[in-house]
Amino acid sequence: MWTLFFLIFLSIVLGVGAWLFFLWSVKSGQYDDVEGPKYRMLDDDDEKK
């Protein structure tokens, strides 16, 4: 029985963690520019330092 409680507790903790991460990502604007990354990915290669 304790295993069950422990696993339930664990799954809720993980779920809440993922949920908080999701909230953070929406609020910090991670979804605001979904077009950009595909171009940026290509640009980074020719960076001259």
């Binding site: 949920w19 929406v26 077009e35």
Partner: protein, 832 residues
């Protein structure tokens, strides 16, 4: 003798205007000093990669080329403090491709004092954070200006802000519901296993209580918008999708809570999944709408808010205005002016416009001269020369010189404002498209309520316990709500828009599909839509049998290559590949023609009156009438080439019809659509374009507002009209039509007003769009059917009182799966 292409802006221009520059040993040619300066700067910053990366199909003068000053004041109110740093969002005008974004970010990030700069690819909005101790905002904005882009203060409209906040809110609600539902599924599966294998009562209670706790936020937080809308609709006995969702989710929730205490079966998963899936559908819809029309905003953005009114008008004496060009120019720029709000400018006021400024109102040039970019209004991409008595249009861009013009229309009467008003009106009137699913739901909800009620009454009459009767009735409501209904439309629309965009059609909003499937009438604009939109040399007629066509073309092109007139362009274009000869004594006589000396012959090319002025007599020209007349009747332009007092050749220049036009019109007719052509030109010209491509119905001499009214009248008669156009003058009609389609090379305004944009200027996309929309609409109908199907089949089980949570879950899964797979079929149809 040739034309050159600018190394920076890709504009082609005649040799005599070329600006040469040597950059690190490489000779480069530019159209002007502005471009050369920008090129040099980009090179110095080691950002030459820009020229390799960029994908520009068209030439384009850098937005900032003629703007040397930047008013910092409008920006200051948008500066935010971020600890010891400052932050601002600015809109960058002139961004045309991904490399422009890259260039701007690089230039900003290499600026000292700038800590962070990032440009949004979709909105062209830059977020900049800087150290106020190291650099001022002005310095940063000047950097953007120096590479040819114009920073603008960025303020989102209230409507756009609300829309953005709503989408974000929806995402959070959906995300939350999604995480909770996935957690909930774990406990539901455990409970399902318990139905088959048996489960310890206490464990079952524990799992049920956890399931309930997980469902509460889904229903009362994520599902709140549905509940709120339902309560609002309830007052008018108005049943929509939201009421069905609320009904299904809340009855499942309440039923389940009751069952926890009586030891029955719980439906928490049904309750949560309904809300989650519907929210997913809503989110897909909202993001698709994200780029929704901002036409009016863009239009008003075009009009300057202030105008520089000349205070002392006595300085514009006649003595000065007929003085030599140089002193006029000085007089123009030294005049005393006062900035006043545009609304207080009166008719007859004199307004000064400097290079790089937008012309605030319509009027007539009094003093000074300049070239003006009117592309935003007329679609003509080449600058237009404006001298004394030329008319200028408010909203167009002044490029090179300073001039003063007399206002002929106040802010409320300008061409631009009448277009804005027409677009506003049409948008306000455009009926909201009721989604198919909504109509079905409107009937479905009352029917379900009646079935549930009859079930309760039936069991009560039969003598069952009131508790059993009530629970069975509620179970009808639990199973009736088809959760894949929310996905049925948005998913198909999403796949449809993706398919269309890979073919080169941009779709704004899912209403397009329903509108096209009911389409009965297609109206094409003439210039730039059915025709290519620029003059092309159609025929060379020789007047002297000893001459040959190629030779004539060479001579004409040699002279015309020095001219910037669109007719000259057509002739030069036709002579591509021929060896042009040297021309001396080149002269342009505006509105008449051009002349030059080749092989000691003085060659004159121009219209008829120019011929008279050059000593031709009336008789030989009149003898040509029978040839010329037929072309002029067709709306073609005819120019004569003359030397030694004899007409040597006649050039016929006209706007040619797109090669694919007749094929397209043919296939549209096969789709049972009526097709007509509309144009501002006269009847003869319009007819000469319409009949060869197979259009019988022609509307000529129509102004932009008339075009709109014609469409309105047709729609009043019950026709569903598609309008295909390209210019800003088509904007009102594109908005008015049930479906506006803009050509991709058209003006931004036209594209913003349209429901669909053809990225490739290929008319064949239109029949394709019609076909794929009709197929998609059929699939949406099937989806709606399948979404209901499983739930309706399960209703008798609920009525019989033998409903089981697994049946509810199974119906949900089966219908969702069918909806998804059926929607994917659009991909297959779309590829054909």
């Amino acid at each position: 003798m040739a034309t050159f292409q600018c190394a920076h802006c890709l504009l082609t221009f005649p040799e005599r205007e070329a600006v040469y520059d040597e950059i690190d040993g490489n000779k480069k040619v530019f159209c002007c000093n502005g471009c050369s300066g920008i090129y040099r700067l980009i090179h110095e910053e080691e950002l030459d990669d820009f020229y390799e990366k960029r994908r520009w199909d068209d030439a384009g003068i850098p937005a900032a080329l003629f703007k040397k000053e930047l008013a910092i004041k409008p920006f200051t109110e948008f500066i935010r403090d971020n600890d010891s740093r400052k932050e601002i969002d600015v809109y960058i005008e002139g961004i045309r491709c991904a490399s422009c974004v890259w260039l701007n970010e690089r230039i900003l990030n290499s600026t000292e004092g700038v800590e962070y700069a990032r440009v949004n690819y979709a909105t062209h909005k830059a977020k900049i954070r800087w150290d106020p101790g190291a650099i001022g905002l002005e310095g940063i904005l000047k950097r953007i200006l120096s590479i040819g882009y114009v920073p603008k203060p960025y303020s989102e409209s209230e409507q756009f802000k609300i829309q953005k906040a709503e989408t974000r809110d929806l995402l959070i609600r959906f995300g939350t519901a999604g995480f909770l539902s996935s957690q909930l599924m774990i406990y539901s599966i455990a409970l399902y296993a318990g139905y088959f294998q048996g489960i310890d009562e206490n464990t079952k209670l524990l799992l049920e209580i956890i399931a309930m706790l997980l469902t509460i936020p889904v229903v009362f937080y994520s599902g709140m918008p549905f509940i709120r809308n339902t309560l609002r609709g309830l007052r008018h006995l108005n049943f929509n999708m939201d009421s069905l969702i609320t009904l299904g989710a809340s009855s499942a929730f309440i039923y389940s809570i009751y069952q926890i205490f009586t030891g029955g079966k719980v439906y928490f998963d049904t309750s949560a999944m309904i809300i989650t899936l519907i929210l997913l559908g809503r989110y897909i819809e909202a993001t698709a709408k994200g780029k929704a029309s901002q036409t009016i905003e863009m239009l008003t953005e075009l009009t300057p808010k202030e105008a520089e009114v000349v205070v002392s008008s006595q300085s514009t004496t006649h003595g000065q205005s007929v003085a030599s060009g140089d002193s006029t120019r000085r007089a123009v720029s030294s005049q005393e002016v006062k900035s006043v709000p545009i609304s207080s400018v009166q008719k007859g006021n004199l307004i000064r416009v400097r290079p790089g400024e937008r012309i605030p109102l319509d009027g007539i040039v009094i003093e000074g001269e300049s070239e003006v970019d009117e592309s935003i209004i007329t679609g003509e991409s080449r600058p237009v020369l404006k001298t004394s008595v030329s008319e200028v249009i408010g909203g167009s861009m002044n490029l090179y010189g300073t001039f003063i013009f007399k206002v002929t229309k106040t802010a409320k009467e300008t061409v631009l404002s009448s277009i804005i008003k027409a677009v506003e009106d049409a948008q306000a009137r455009k009926p909201k498209i009721q989604i198919l699913a909504d109509r079905v739901v409107g009937i479905f909800v009352p029917v379900i309520l009646i079935i549930a009620l009859s079930t309760v009454i039936f069991y009560l009459l039969k003598g069952s316990s009131s508790h059993f009767a009530l629970m069975t009735g509620i179970s009808v409501l639990v199973i009736a709500c088809p959760c894949s209904l929310g996905l049925a439309t948005p998913l198909a629309v999403l796949i449809f828009t993706t398919m269309a965009s890979t073919k080169g059609i941009l779709i704004r909003g899912g209403e397009v599909i329903e509108n096209i499937s009911k389409l009965t009438y297609v109206i094409f604009d003439k210039t730039g839509t059915i025709t290519v939109g620029k003059p092309v040399l159609k025929e060379v007629i020789l007047m002297d049998p000893d001459l040959n066509k190629e030779h004539m073309l060479t001579i004409a092109a040699s002279i015309e290559s020095l001219s910037e007139h669109s007719i000259g362009h057509a002739i030069t274009e036709a002579a591509k590949g021929l060896n042009l000869s040297h021309v001396s004594g080149f002269k342009v006589i505006p509105g008449r023609g051009i002349e030059g000396v080749i092989d000691n012959k003085r060659v004159v090319i121009g219209n008829r009156s120019f011929m008279y002025e050059n000593g031709m007599t009336v008789a030989p020209l009149q003898s040509l009438d029978h040839i010329v007349q037929q072309f002029e009747n067709n709306g073609d332009t005819v120019v004569y080439m003359v030397w030694d007092k004899a007409v040597k050749a006649i050039f016929v220049i006209s706007d040619i019809v797109r090669a694919e036009a007749s094929e397209v019109i043919d296939s549209l007719k096969k789709e049972n659509l009526e097709v007509s052509l509309i144009s501002g030109d006269n009847k003869a010209t319009t007819n000469s374009i319409a009949s060869p491509v197979g259009i019988e119905d022609v509307i000529s001499e129509a102004s932009p507002i008339m075009k709109k009214d014609i469409i309105h009248a047709l729609q009043q008669k019950g026709k569903k009209v598609m309008m295909v156009g390209d210019g800003i003058n088509d904007a009102p009609s594109l908005t008015e039509a049930s479906l506006g389609v803009a050509m991709g090379r058209g003006t931004d305004i036209a594209m913003e007003s349209a429901d669909a944009v053809l990225v490739r200027n290929d008319l064949r996309l239109i029949p394709y769009l019609v076909r794929i929309s009709r197929k998609t609409y059929a699939i949406i109908k099937q989806n709606v059917f399948w979404a209901f199907f499983y739930n309706i089949v399960a209703i008798p089980l609920a009525v019989a009182g033998v409903l089981h949570p697994i049946i509810a879950a199974g119906a949900m899964a089966a219908s969702s799966l069918i909806v998804v797979i059926n929607s994917l079929r659009i991909t297959r149809i779309g590829q054909r």
